[in-house]
């Protein structure tokens, strides 16, 4: 790459409303953009701004296509939520390191996700499903605030059909008028029912900071080793590759050293959960 800031044009093919706060944008890129699951891209709304996102589609998909799932959480994402099919965005990347999938081979894998954290996990999940024979089992523990806030609603049925996949979901609360017959409580309650040998299993967590924090503690409690707990960190990443320095956490850069870290790597750095 001559210029690390080089931008590709991305046509918005379709916008899926996943929840009141979360939308998935299906993009068609002017040129292929190859990435590894776990890496991130910077998506820009021309003239407005840009922000980092982990794609939510598999890295096995046609590299001129990409899904990005975005929560309306700040200035840029708010403007992105007004984007319609037919609009044009800019995309650059990929940046950061992917998941070390080689280390996942032959193991039980647990994905713990909350809210919009399911987006990067879906990218990983679709990749794992593609190579399902390489893994012992996949356990999915997904949570959201309310049933309405759960994203990818129509895809769970398909995932449940896959033999090696165990899927459980929880919501924090059930507002009046909404229906829910699965678990209620913070997402970590789902860990009580998992049926894998955690000593040798891999866990990947992604979600809001508070969920990551208590999720990590709960995973350790369940017997996962610190070096087998992977966290996808959300920090302010302006450039994507270590120039702007906004995402520094202690001695690490979330962008170039991450965004995925094992818990044992970063546990001694200050304020990783903020």
């Amino acid at each position: 790459m001559d210029n690390p800031y080089e931008v590709l044009k991305a046509d918005v093919l379709n916008v899926i409303e996943e929840s009141p706060q979360i939308k998935t944008f299906q993009l068609k890129l002017e040129k292929p953009l190859e990435f590894q699951t776990g890496q991130f891209v910077e998506l820009s709304l021309p003239g407005i701004g840009e922000a980092p996102f982990t794609p939510s589609s598999s890295h096995y998909q046609d590299p001129t296509k990409m899904d990005v799932t975005i929560m309306n959480a700040g200035f840029v994402t708010n403007k992105l939520h007004q984007v319609k099919a037919g609009d044009i965005l800019g995309i650059r990347g990929p940046y950061g390191k992917g998941y070390p999938l080689d280390k996942f081979k032959g193991k039980d894998i647990l994905l713990l996700g909350g809210g919009v954290g399911l987006a990067p996990l879906r990218c990983l999940l679709l990749t794992l499903i593609h190579d399902i024979d390489d893994y012992k089992s996949i356990t999915l523990c997904f949570g959201a605030r309310t049933p309405q806030d759960l994203i990818y609603k129509d895809q769970f049925a398909d995932w449940r059909k896959i033999n090696k996949i165990q899927l459980s979901r929880s919501v924090d609360e059930i507002p009046k008028g909404e229906k829910w017959d699965e678990k209620v409580g913070v997402v970590t309650v789902l860990l009580d029912d998992i049926k894998i040998d955690t000593k040798d299993a891999v866990a990947v967590a992604c979600g809001p900071p508070i969920m990551m924090k208590f999720g990590t503690y709960a995973l350790i409690d369940k017997g996962f080793k610190e070096e087998n707990i992977y966290l996808s960190m959300e920090k302010k990443m302006y450039c994507g590759f270590g120039q702007c320095r906004h995402c520094v956490m202690g001695k690490y850069y979330a962008c170039k050293d991450g965004p995925v870290f094992t818990y044992d790597t970063i546990k001694n750095e200050e304020k990783i959960w903020e």
Binding site: M1, D2, N3, P4, Y5, E6, V7, K9, S44, L45, P46, G47, I48, G49, E50, A51, A73, G74, F75, V76, T77, I88, G90, P208, P209, E234, K235, K236, Y238, C239, F241, G242, Q243, C244, R245, H246, C247, V248, M249, G250, K251, K256, E270, K271, E274
Partner: protein, 348 residues
């Protein structure tokens, strides 16, 4: 530490002006000049015959990064039609700062295209300090107030000028420096330096080093830096940062600070991105969408500058992010002296 410059040449000060006049159509030439109000305030300006420039003395007010990493610069698309430049009178603290910037912007995991272009287009003529400012403290980092060529590899400076009487003694630092010498020879008479000239230089070196040691005698030079990040130092950092008004001057003026934000200024279907200096001292610097900020409090942001320069940069680039230029000291409206801050951690 003291390596005598070998193969040195001499050029007369008066001839140098002739040289600049002759090449100013091919190069943009930047030289330190005094500001009208204060003789100690030196600023890089474009060469103009009718002004008296200051070849030696001490560092400029503006850090060297202003010439290589502008306050605001378009990074997409890159425009490449830039003229060659000669930057004259760069002091060793800024030469060392360029080393830090090179590590971060050229030798890490990406190449910053604008910085690379400016580095390539620039011929750097550094010069010895002949005087010091009260804030100067390069000696605390084992940096001499005069650049020297210490290995066979190309130095950051292309040529270095040491004043000897009414002449300059020239040290060639790089291949680009050899090119420059050829150009110099076209317009100036260049002679070989004698052993006596080199002796004289050695005694000048000793003299300026002594000035620096005296200036900083209160501060120990073998300072430990890990201590500043100690978990129980919150109270101390709160006290130290109490007067800070969060202006961000200390980071903007620092020759090794390179934090930026990226803005998207695309219009009419053309992608355009601009980067602008940012300061870790400002509230909101690390805030993510959704509002969480890992450095919410003033003292945490204040401490961050120290952790970054003395710990993070060292871990990432094997060099400290401070060259002792003292600019952050002379600019601070709260009169916070970095030397004292570090020193106060040595005594506990």
């Amino acid at each position: 530490m003291n390596i005598s410059p070998k193969n040195t040449l001499l050029v007369r000060v008066a001839d140098l002006v002739k040289f600049f006049e002759n090449v100013k159509n091919d190069f943009d030439i930047f030289i330190p000049y005094t500001s009208n109000s204060d003789n100690d305030n030196l600023f890089y300006k474009k060469f103009r015959e009718n002004l008296d420039f200051v070849p030696n003395k001490f560092r400029t007010i503006d850090p060297i990064k202003t010439l290589f990493y502008f306050t605001s610069e378009k990074i997409l698309p890159i425009s490449n039609k830039k003229r060659k430049r000669i930057i004259f009178g760069v002091k060793n603290c800024d030469i060392q700062a360029l080393k830090v910037l090179d590590s971060a912007l050229l030798e890490d995991n990406f190449v910053e295209p604008n910085y690379k272009m400016w580095r390539e287009k620039s011929y750097i003529i550094s010069s010895d300090c002949t005087d010091i400012l009260p804030s100067c403290h390069c000696n605390l980092f084992d940096i001499n107030p005069y650049p020297t060529k210490d290995s066979d590899k190309d130095a950051i400076f292309d040529l270095n000028f040491s004043p000897i009487d009414d002449k300059f003694l020239i040290t060639i630092g790089s291949k680009k420096g050899e090119e420059l010498v050829e150009l110099l020879k076209k317009y100036c008479s260049v002679s070989n330096a004698s052993a006596k000239d080199n002796d004289k230089l050695e005694s000048q070196y000793a003299e300026i080093r002594k000035k620096l040691t005296d200036n900083n005698s209160e501060y120990s030079s073998n300072r430990k830096y890990e201590v500043i990040a100690k978990g129980d130092s919150e109270k101390k950092w709160k006290e130290i940062s109490e007067e800070c008004v969060e202006c961000g001057a200390c980071t903007n003026i620092c020759p090794t600070c390179y934090c930026i934000i990226v803005n998207d200024e695309s219009e009419n279907g053309k992608f355009k991105k601009v980067r602008t200096w940012d300061s870790c001292q400002l509230n909101g610097y690390a805030k993510v969408a959704g509002g969480a900020s890992p450095r919410e409090k003033l003292w945490e942001r204040f401490r961050n500058r120290y952790q970054c320069k003395f710990i993070l940069m060292n871990q990432n680039f094997s060099k400290l992010g401070c060259t002792g230029c003292g600019r952050c000291i002379s600019t601070c409206s709260a009169e916070i002296d970095k030397r004292e801050v570090i020193q106060s951690f040595q005594e506990v």
